[in-house]
């Protein structure tokens, strides 16, 4: 638009500004509308996909995990409620609810052995043993999802990372940084000695004993005085490998 001097020119400039603003608003609205439409299309495609692959989703844990990721990307939570389209279509709400109940049972049954902290791998293994007769396979991802649903119910369940492992906590025990470091140290051999803790972590003897005492009192550690070198070992069932665990008779 040609610049015109004088009042007329000012009026034109104002009108031009208004027009640009309107155009800008329209463009933004267009963009939002377009996005909404794209999202709606995507969601209906997702629903179509779920309908078609219902069996695969139920039977195959890897497929199921990928499906969940897809859903998360578009803000769909198939497990949000036990009613509604998703739950009815897939019936997987019940699946996770059932898993949750079984996970709670396993954690309770093993509590006197591991103090209420169990490693995810072992939990999964015990879960599979418990569900031997069921047709649907269970993955670690399934366990984590079931546990996150348990968390929402306020049942005190939490998944914590210690070193390379994930541990499932089913008691209100708070672990501080010192405790975590000891647990991580214990992952190598399943146990630690006071000397090891002092040496590897550069702690004072008091600090090491305090932390180990607390872990003992919380039932997370067990004492072993039987080694021929006479040094006391503190074993941690929650980081031990499956073969040395005590699977409760569940």
């Amino acid at each position: 638009m040609r610049r015109r001097p004088g009042i007329g020119g000012l009026q034109t400039a104002a009108a031009a500004r208004d027009q640009y603003r309107l155009l800008g608003e329209n463009v933004a609205k267009l963009r939002t509308d377009l996005m909404k439409e794209q999202l709606a299309t995507f969601r209906s495609q997702l629903e179509e996909f779920a309908r078609k692959h219902k069996n695969d989703i139920r039977k195959n844990p890897t497929f199921r995990a990928q499906f969940h990721e897809m859903c998360a990307k578009v803000g769909v939570d198939p497990l949000a409620s036990n009613k509604g389209f998703w739950a009815e279509l897939l019936g997987i709400g019940d699946f996770y609810y059932e898993l949750g109940v079984q996970i709670v049972e396993i954690c309770l049954a093993t509590r006197s052995h591991n103090g209420g902290l169990i490693n995810l791998q072992e939990l999964c293994m015990l879960l599979r043993q418990k569900r031997k007769t069921d047709r649907e396979a269970v993955s670690e991802d399934d366990c984590l999802r079931a546990i996150s649903k348990l968390k929402i119910l306020g049942s005190g369940f939490e998944v914590i990372s210690v070193g390379k492992r994930k541990l499932v906590r089913s008691v209100p025990t708070e672990l501080n940084k010192d405790h975590n470091e000891i647990l991580e140290l214990a992952q190598a051999q399943g146990y630690v000695t006071v000397d090891e803790v002092e040496g590897r972590l550069s702690w004072t003897s008091g600090r090491a004993t305090d932390a180990l005492d607390t872990l003992l009192d919380e039932g997370l550690a067990m004492i072993d005085d039987g080694h021929k070198d006479g040094k006391r070992r503190y074993w941690f069932p929650c980081v031990s490998s499956i073969s040395s665990s005590v699977g409760a008779d569940i």
């Binding site: 006197s112 052995h113 009192d217 039932g219 067990m222 005085d225 021929k228 040395s244 665990s245």
Partner: protein
């Protein structure tokens, strides 16, 4: 899975801590007491048990760990003795359950005594001597043995019959039954129980070999 002969060993048997009698006191408390008595923290192992009134010195998980350990060992001992037909455990002798050479651990004398005492408290064992060195294992209770004898009597048509003690233990009729090879002490106790109930009469012969029973079932 490790086996002892034919016996399938439980998984806890391979986990070293289960061979150490787990603490009776909470560690934090033990530490404080050690300071008070001016002994080394590690010397606080003399505390074998806590009277229930002092349970506040024991955290719940510590109590649970101890209970779990005792229960596991009790069940293990009973199971093993039942399948291997073992009736007496001598604390000073080597008993396969009390050591695991694979993980190089053995139960201490105190631990063995503690687990056997727990069986005694539950009525599944009895000390045979004042010094608590020999333990009679009742993987069947005396009452159960009495029932087994009655069934044996009926199965062999001995309702009015006579049999020597030795025949009950090792005669042809006993083969294939649980009575075969039964410990003499246990057998006598079961028979005395049945005698009290009027189901039989024990009579002595010229020697222990002639000791016998007249049934009236």
């Amino acid at each position: 899975m490790q086996k002892l002969g034919d016996f399938k060993l439980p998984q806890f048997f391979n986990y070293p801590p289960y061979f150490t009698y787990s603490p009776a006191l909470s560690a934090v408390v033990a530490h404080a007491l050690a300071h008070y008595f001016n002994v080394l923290h590690s010397e606080m192992n003399w505390v074998e048990d806590i009277p229930p009134q002092l349970n506040l010195l024991v955290s719940r998980p510590v109590r649970d760990t101890r209970e779990k350990q005792v229960q596991l060992w009790k069940d293990f001992i009973l199971d093993y003795c039942k399948t291997q037909h073992i009736f007496v455990i001598e604390l000073e002798e080597e008993f396969p359950l009390f050591s695991n050479p694979v993980i190089e651990r053995s139960l201490s004398h105190e631990a063995r005594k503690a687990f056997l005492s727990a069986l005694v408290t539950e009525g599944r064992a009895e000390w045979l001597d004042k010094g608590h060195r020999k333990c009679l294992i009742l993987w069947h209770r005396i009452q159960d043995w009495a029932d087994i004898i009655l069934r044996f009597v009926k199965d062999n048509g001995l309702e009015d019959g006579v049999m020597t003690i030795e025949e009950i233990r090792s005669g042809i009729e006993s083969r294939g039954t649980e009575l075969h090879g039964i410990d003499r002490t246990i057998l006598m106790r079961a028979l005395k129980l049945l005698e009290h109930k009027g189901k039989l009469a024990i009579f002595k012969g010229t020697s222990t070999d002639d000791e016998g029973v007249k049934f009236s079932v």
